[in-house]
């Protein structure tokens, strides 16, 4: 047993290293890498019964999330895959899809999970699980395409759309709408998104796709909002309450949009759906937010001033669910009030599994 544990340990450490140091860029890549890792565990010989597999995945997953507390994508993928394993087991035992549905519904109660021991021997369970994991990986690959298919309905001609910073999914969304019909006449206003100022790259991307783009400074968001008809945001995470953990400035955009009664659409694939409920304890919550290098806020040449003061550079921003109107994901569009149920269904027994993985639940 120990030799097999060390086999996964090395791979797990390498994965954590790659993610932490940016060798794996972007949430999609991180999600794929995590799915590959679980695939590796599932296809190894170290388990015979579902409960063994769940235990191994849980242990490895716990260590992975401890090494990467802020990369919630990793935890989300793990939660999803563990749910898949449990569902497959339940199907294998009961051989009927109705029973599976009942099982999934009953996942709302966590005690049910604890009752199920997952210890019955099921022939063909391994193949079924590997099959399902492969399907999940295909889903990950198709996630951007599934989202951009919905672009045509979400954006109407003549719209003025605002966004902040750079999100590759939002860019793909807008480019898909532009490419879809000849009469796609809409404009995009991109806010810079200090301190990273990724909005500049986003504007360049969009202008290259022949979308009429206007690049504005973050200080002008309020001035321009009266002329904007929709806001489309990318995000780091979608929380269970329907709120977001997004880049700094997103809260401000959402608030100003709320003031002007402009709808805010969030574009997020399922691996960004998180078990976290809210951003409780705000700045003290270590798993929610991080104070990054102040270099982005106060330049080095201002160092003489900056050495006597506190310079803050929080990495993320919390957007409350009141400011968001809907979430467009690869499994469909959800209203914000439906997010709680949707995430519970997606991950089954969220609170129990998340606690096992030492992920934040509240």
């Amino acid at each position: 047993m120990k030799s097999r544990m060390s086999q996964f340990t090395e791979i797990r450490n390498k994965l954590a290293f790659n993610i932490k140091h940016g060798n794996i860029q972007g949430s999609l890549e991180v999600a794929k890498a995590t799915a590959n890792f679980v695939d590796l565990i599932a296809s190894s010989d170290g388990w015979t019964v579902a409960s063994d597999l769940l235990k191994i995945v849980n242990d490895e997953g716990k260590k992975l999330t401890t090494a990467l507390p802020l990369h919630a994508t990793v935890a989300n993928v793990l939660l999803q895959l563990m749910h898949i394993i449990r569902a497959e087991y339940y199907y294998a035992v009961n051989q009927s899809t109705q029973a599976v549905q009942r099982f999934v519904e009953s996942c709302m109660n966590c005690e049910e999970i604890q009752e199920k021991k997952f210890s019955a021997q099921c022939p063909g369970l391994k193949d079924a699980i590997l099959d399902h994991i492969a399907e999940y990986k295909t889903e990950l690959d198709l996630s951007v395409d599934n989202i951009t298919e919905q672009a045509a309905e979400q954006i109407q001609p003549g719209e003025v759309i605002m966004t902040i910073g750079r999100s590759s999914i939002v860019a793909a969304f807008l480019q898909a709408k532009k490419a879809s019909e000849h009469f796609s006449d809409f404009q995009v206003v991109v806010a810079e998104g200090a301190p990273q100022c990724e909005g500049v790259k986003m504007a360049e991307l969009l202008a290259k796709s022949k979308i009429q783009t206007t690049l504005i400074s973050d200080t002008n968001i309020y001035s321009f909002m009266s002329r904007v008809t929709k806001v489309i945001l990318g995000t780091n995470l979608v929380l269970r309450s329907g709120g977001l953990r997004a880049l700094p400035g997103a809260h401000m955009v959402g608030l100003v949009a709320h003031e002007h009664k402009v709808p805010v659409i969030v574009v997020a694939p399922t691996y960004k759906f998180s078990s976290m409920l809210s951003e409780s304890h705000r700045s003290d919550n270590e798993t929610f937010n991080l104070l990054a290098n102040p270099q982005g806020v106060a330049k080095f040449k201002d160092g003489i001033i900056a050495s006597n003061v506190k310079v803050l550079n929080p990495m993320y921003d919390f957007v409350p669910p009141d400011y968001v109107s809907q979430v467009v994901s690869n499994i469909g569009t959800y209203g914000v009030s439906h997010m709680f149920t949707a995430i519970n269904e997606l991950y089954g027994a969220v609170e129990e599994s998340a606690k096992d993985l030492k992920m934040a639940v509240v």
Binding site: A194, I216, S223
Partner: protein, 479 residues
């Protein structure tokens, strides 16, 4: 795969669905190059269908044009296509004319401009000639067009630096480069520049001094106006000098003495006003409070200095912005004082807002519809503060109250920032950039205005403007 949906389907169906998904993914990768070919084929067919019923004479040019037009603009109406081509020609002609006009103006400036500004004209002449050779950019619509029109209007104003006093040229340069920032600081700068103008002024022979002096000063101010640097406070300052009420038979020496005295009095008044504002602010700031300030304001800086010297201990959060240095200036001056400071950018203000007790905003002016004009970004900060229940105080002397009244930030005097956000993308097609200098903060976000007289609610602005005790001179509308 959503397992709940599998209730109705059997195991085989699920497997079949998975196979279909895999096949769809593979076929998608093969389809992409094919789809592109299909798209280019379709418009050509459409063009041929259109060209057929038309007379032969018009056939050729129409056939060529729609192929590109459809892909770009999506217009399939033949009449529209013809109009657009002539419109494009007009655009090109207009661009050329503007380029030539700009080149002329640049040459005129080149001869007279002081060394500070000399570096600019040669670069812009080059850029202008390059623009003429480039093909016309795609037509702008909607919001981008509004911004481009504003930018063009700003640039078109002809301001000739001939005969402008070097003190004013220097003033303009300092204001433009934001060395001199904040409404009050600019007024003081203006007054000082005006003093050197008056001292160097020599009355020409046989001309009434009052009229000539007024014209002379107006000429200097017109240069600033042309550069879009005038504000309400500056206008009021000039008017308060009452240059047109000097006696007819006064000698040049006496006139200079009178005007200089008026200038000194005004500067004194400004300083007194700043002290009064500081006293009024003391009512609102409690010991140990955490204040938030945005960008640089001479008035607020002075007030906080006074408060600190009288022994009040408070902490400050300075909110800065990426586009200008006001925040850093404020931060350096406050930390030199010894105040405990924190600094962040406007995007992150939500992070600290729950801890803040009050927000102080420096005002450029107060409008007659009770909204406040401030540096760009003030509206957002006021909005965030409002949502968290934090009171927002506007600091503004009554001399900055104005009869103007507009909604929203796209008003005529609101100039666009000279520096582009991303200068490397300046001439990219389909791209426009915009950075407004001022913001209009709606009345509902502001809790009170701290003036030198007293602390007023926003709705009192028209009362102050129309009150019998207010300066009759200032009652004339600002342009």
């Amino acid at each position: 795969m959503d397992v709940t949906k599998g209730a109705e389907m059997s195991r085989e169906d699920i497997k079949a669905a998975r196979q279909a998904k895999k096949a769809a993914k593979k076929s998608k990768e093969n389809k992409k190059p094919e789809q592109k070919e299909e798209k280019t084929i379709v418009p050509k067919e459409k063009a041929q269908e259109q060209a057929q019923p038309k007379p032969a004479v018009v056939k050729e040019p129409v056939q060529k044009a729609p192929v590109e037009k459809i892909e770009e603009t999506g217009s399939t109406d033949k009449g529209k296509v013809q109009q657009k081509s002539s419109k494009e020609l007009k655009e090109e002609r207009r661009l050329k004319q503007e380029a030539q006009r700009a080149a002329k103006a640049q040459k005129a400036e080149q001869a007279k401009a002081p060394p500070v500004i000399e570096a600019k004209p040669s670069k812009s002449v080059k850029a202008v000639t390059e623009n003429v050779n480039k093909p016309a950019k795609p037509m702008l619509t909607g919001l981008a067009r509004t911004i481009a029109t504003m930018a063009r209007e700003c640039a078109r104003i002809d301001c000739n630096p001939d005969g402008v006093h070097p003190a004013f040229l220097q003033l303009e340069a300092r204001m433009q480069s934001r060395l001199l920032e904040g409404s009050t600081a600019r007024v003081v700068g203006l007054m000082r520049a005006l003093r050197s103008v008056i001292n160097d002024y020599k009355v020409p022979e046989n001309v009434a001094i009052t009229r000539d002096l007024v014209e002379h000063v107006e000429k200097q101010v017109a240069y600033l106006r042309g550069r879009r640097l005038m504000s309400v406070a500056l206008d009021h300052a000039i008017k308060s000098l009452r240059l047109n009420t000097l006696a007819y038979d006064v000698s040049e020496q006496e006139a200079k003495v009178t005007v200089n005295a008026a200038i000194d009095a005004y500067i004194n008044k400004i300083e007194q006003d700043m002290q009064s504002v500081a006293l009024n602010l003391a009512h609102k700031v409690k010991d140990g409070a955490l204040l938030a300030v945005y960008s640089y304001s001479c008035l607020i800086m002075n007030a906080l200095k006074q408060l600190f010297k009288t022994g009040k201990r408070f902490r400050v959060v300075v909110v800065g912005s990426n586009t200008h240095n006001g925040g850093m200036t404020m931060l350096s001056q406050l930390s030199d004082l010894g105040v405990e400071c924190t600094y962040l950018l406007i995007n992150q203000v939500n992070f600290i807002m729950p801890r803040v007790q009050l927000v102080l905003l420096g005002a450029e002016s107060m409008l007659a519809n009770c909204s406040m004009v401030g540096p760009a970004g003030s509206a957002q900060i006021a909005c965030v503060a409002n949502s968290q229940g934090v009171p927002v105080y506007a600091c503004c002397e009554t001399s900055k109250f104005s009869y103007d009244s507009h909604q929203g930030s796209f008003f005529k005097q609101n100039e666009l920032e000279p520096e582009f956000l991303a200068p490397q993308l300046k001439n990219m097609p389909y791209m426009s950039q915009c950075s407004l200098r001022c913001d209009v903060v709606p009345e509902r976000f502001i809790s009170a205005i701290i003036t030198e007289v007293t602390i007023l609610p926003c709705s009192s602005v028209p009362d102050v403007l129309h009150s019998p005790s207010s300066d009759t001179v200032l009652k004339s509308r600002t342009t």
